[in-house]
């Protein structure tokens, strides 16, 4: 889904062929989102079928035949609409961690706290790894990687805050119960 728009955004800068798109994409997000070249070509094929890009195969003067892609007016309009629309996070509450915590409620407070604490350790480990990645990106002056690390840190931080809140709620949940 997002790969489609990422490729359109790259093609809005200038026409490119498949392998160029792959390396441009990975130059920005490769650390967090490795892309295989097959994915690039299937996405390009779909974009071309939908009239959002136009492909043109150059004469193979000695070298390999290369298909260069150019964004169409319809492609630019689609891209503009994408930029203008906020990303929907709706539905992401269907989360394994929530399922696990709620399932543990049936086994008593200690069981839930054990789940919460194990998860918090894992979340903090993750947070630390992202923090190291961020420091590295900052040192290299790599803005896309820095922003990617910032996002992952914010998400892990949100989870850590939620885990703390769960534990606090468990000690103050008099009068609340699990519906049977």
């Amino acid at each position: 889904m997002s790969v489609k728009y990422a490729l359109l955004a790259l093609l809005a800068q200038r026409p490119m062929y498949g392998y160029q798109l792959k390396s441009q994409f990975e130059g920005r997000l490769g650390q967090t989102w490795p892309l295989n070249v097959g994915q690039v070509y299937t996405t390009l094929a779909r974009l071309e079928r939908d009239g959002l890009v136009q492909g043109k195969t150059a004469d193979p003067e000695g070298g390999e035949a290369r298909r260069t892609y150019r964004i169409s007016d319809a492609g630019r309009a689609t891209l503009a609409e994408w930029f203008a629309t906020p990303v929907s996070r709706n539905g992401q509450h269907r989360d394994e961690l929530l399922v696990k915590v709620v399932a543990a409620l049936d086994n008593g407070r200690d069981a839930v706290v054990a789940v919460l604490r194990r998860q918090r350790t894992a979340t903090l480990e993750l947070l630390r790894r992202h923090t190291l990645a961020k420091a590295d990106a900052a040192r290299r002056g790599d803005l896309p990687r820095l922003l990617a690390a910032d996002l992952l840190i914010a998400q892990a931080e949100g989870e850590a805050a939620w885990l703390d809140l769960c534990e606090a709620r468990l000690s103050h949940h008099d009068g609340m119960e699990v519906p049977r």
């Binding site: 350790t121 903090l124 630390r128 420091a135 840190i153």
Partner: protein, 242 residues
């Protein structure tokens, strides 16, 4: 590794009788040179009490606090004051730069109190300010500095001289994320340079700069997160980013 800070079954009870409140209940903690430990936990868990005991700002009702080999319980008021001034740096949320002194004078003050000549102290202060990126603000008074700059002055003051222990209580308090991150980078760099650090924070993103996280609840250590996979070797990289 020798511990710079050692809390051995430390207890702190405020008040007595049926009004007694146990703020800290048998907490043990060791922090080695070069190590940064984050302390987390809900309000009232004992985080600040722990920090005050570690820094000799308060005395435990039970247990032992040892800093740089010296048992704080065996020191008299003068000995404690000297140890605090020479060996321990404090970075607190609302810390108390003296408003009538410039940034450089604030940083130089503990050194001068220690008997270092004022020229030498001033030189050291400028070096410390340079370390935190504030060399050009040395002559500014606290009310001419932003919140982030004031906190950096506090860090410069906390590391000047031969400090071995750095204690930080919510040092990122009212700061925005980027400024908070810069402050953490400085604390981390201080520890990478060989100081032992304790950071009290309620924000996981800042705790992630530490080597270990200790969770307090109702005055006790309820959980610990050693960063096993990413420990020591990684620290150079963190500190090096600043």
């Amino acid at each position: 590794m020798t511990a710079v800070l050692e809390l051995d079954r430390v207890t702190r009870v405020y008040g007595s009788g049926h009004l007694a409140v146990t703020a800290l209940d048998g907490v043990s903690l060791r922090v080695a040179a070069g190590e940064l430990v984050a302390v987390m936990g809900p309000s009232g868990a004992g985080k600040t009490t722990l920090l005050h005991l570690a820094g000799g700002l308060d005395r435990p009702t039970g247990g032992r606090v040892v800093v740089a080999g010296g048992d704080l319980g065996r020191l008299d008021a003068h000995g404690l004051a000297v140890l605090r001034r020479r060996r321990i740096g404090y970075v607190f949320q609302d810390l108390n730069l003296l408003p009538g002194l410039t940034a450089a004078e604030n940083v130089a003050l503990p050194r001068e109190l220690d008997g270092v000549g004022s020229r030498q102290a001033h030189r050291e202060a400028l070096d410390a300010l340079e370390l935190v990126g504030l060399a050009d603000r040395a002559a500014a008074f606290p009310d001419q500095l932003s919140g982030g700059e004031r906190q950096r002055v506090a860090i410069a003051r906390a590391v000047v001289g031969q400090r071995v222990l750095l204690l930080a209580d919510e040092p990122t308090g009212a700061l925005d994320s980027l400024t908070g991150e810069a402050i953490l980078g400085l604390l981390r760099a201080g520890c990478d340079a060989g100081v032992a650090g304790v950071l009290v924070t309620h924000e996981a993103r800042y705790a992630a700069w530490a080597d270990r996280v200790v969770f307090l609840g109702d005055g006790r250590v309820v959980d610990q997160s050693p960063f096993v996979a990413t420990a020591r070797s990684a620290n150079d990289r963190l500190g090096g980013s600043r």
